[in-house]
Subunit: 253 residues, 2 copies
């Protein structure tokens, strides 16, 4: 499984991804799912991947080769982010067809999902989700984040906290907590965790941090978060129970 | 869809359930999913239901009838909670078989899941999950809660907070927040929300509260929770970014 999330705030973009892949519980490996392209002041793109690993790696390889070989169409020639999402979707579908043809009768899910985010100079910074079918949807002001993979565990915290006015750094903390919640609830999502903060209108690669298994910061974040939640519970309004119904003890209010 | 959760703490049991049922988005109704039985000082049971509505209602009807008719085997005769879970599982499988026989070739999922909780005098208070297959698992000290239905959104908060030493009332707030997170992320889980707190060793029905669509307490809870989370984020340790990489603004630390 996989969990990747991208957030758009006014100040820029946040990307967070895990690195665990598995084909059954006894076949677990580590693959980064965050791929950065360009960052030359003109264009910057980040790709997050989920789904069939062979498909997603083939797409990344093709994207890199098109740039290196100066193809007529590559991420280096895209005039907008939606064009880039179209292009990624097209390659993804082509790669899936290739495998499906070879495997014919075998029922293998070759589908992959992608998050494409970044900015072309003069255009707004944004994030799009590319479905296995090759089509895509963007973030909006009302839905300023997108997720792929095991998305449910980490969604409530994003739903409650993310808004466009949030600072890039606080949005980054929120995306990390969302990842931490997912790791805790699903063993097939795991470290290293990659985090990238992209500052709007820079078209530069931004700031990347990788957190390993026992990273001090991740542990401090988890502890601090847990403590805050416990305090938060003690400050929530007392349940409106019939009086005397439940014996209240120390710590209750 | 449905979301139900039951928590076991040393002081007692918490049960929370939503009331929305749907067979397609244009076929939504309201059915309580929490059913209380007995509470005579000798035995008290609560049943939470998810899955096929016809199956779960048939099970509830049969449980009530067996008590009323003084059957040889009913919740009123059970010596332990695990016996009660076996009994519920058996009825559930029987009901499913009945429907399946009638429908033959139609592919309808008649399965239902149940949470059975409560206490028989002299026995420990506990909670068990009864699978559609009729078998069951209990809560444990390491996993002091059980969920049925749309469980992923509401799990992280329970994972982080619930422990056996928690007071019954705070455990109740936590289960309600878990429900609120689920409602927010999944439109097919909805009010009225039923909450029940059972005090250990009472074998009495405990304290029940029902929260409607625009309940004042639920709104206050949600607002207070959201504010606390926002504060919590501002107090989390600052991301370990390369210095000067991201412009920190007011509100960042």
């Amino acid at each position: 499984m996989t969990y990747c999330v991208a957030v758009r705030v006014d100040q820029g973009l946040v990307f967070v991804s895990d690195s665990r892949t598995n084909a059954g519980v006894d076949h677990i490996s580590t693959y980064g799912k965050m791929h950065k392209f360009l960052g030359d002041g003109e264009r910057f793109f980040t790709l997050l991947t989920a789904g069939n690993l062979a498909t997603s790696r083939a797409v990344v390889t093709k994207l890199r080769r098109d740039i290196e070989e100066g193809a007529d169409e590559s991420l280096a020639t895209m005039a907008r982010l939606t064009e880039a999402a179209d292009y990624v979707g097209r390659i993804s579908v082509e790669e899936q067809r290739k495998y499906e043809k070879r495997m014919k009768d075998k029922k293998v899910d070759t589908g992959a999902s992608f998050i494409v985010g970044g900015q072309v100079k003069g255009q707004p910074h944004s994030v799009l989700l590319v479905y296995p079918e090759g089509n895509h949807i963007p973030v909006s002001r009302h839905s300023p984040f997108l997720q792929i993979g095991e998305e449910k565990y980490g969604k409530p915290i994003l739903d409650r906290i993310i808004e466009p006015e949030l600072s890039l750094e606080v949005a980054g903390r929120c995306a990390l907590v969302s990842m931490d919640s997912t790791m805790r609830s699903n063993a097939s999502v795991g470290p290293p965790i990659e985090l990238l903060l992209y500052t709007a209108d820079s078209q530069r690669p931004g700031s990347a941090v990788t957190f390993g298994e026992d990273d001090d910061y991740l542990r401090a974040l988890r502890r601090s978060w847990q403590d805050s939640l416990k305090r938060a519970f003690n400050n929530l309004p007392t349940l409106p129970l019939p009086s005397g119904a439940v014996r209240l003890v120390d710590g209750d209010r």
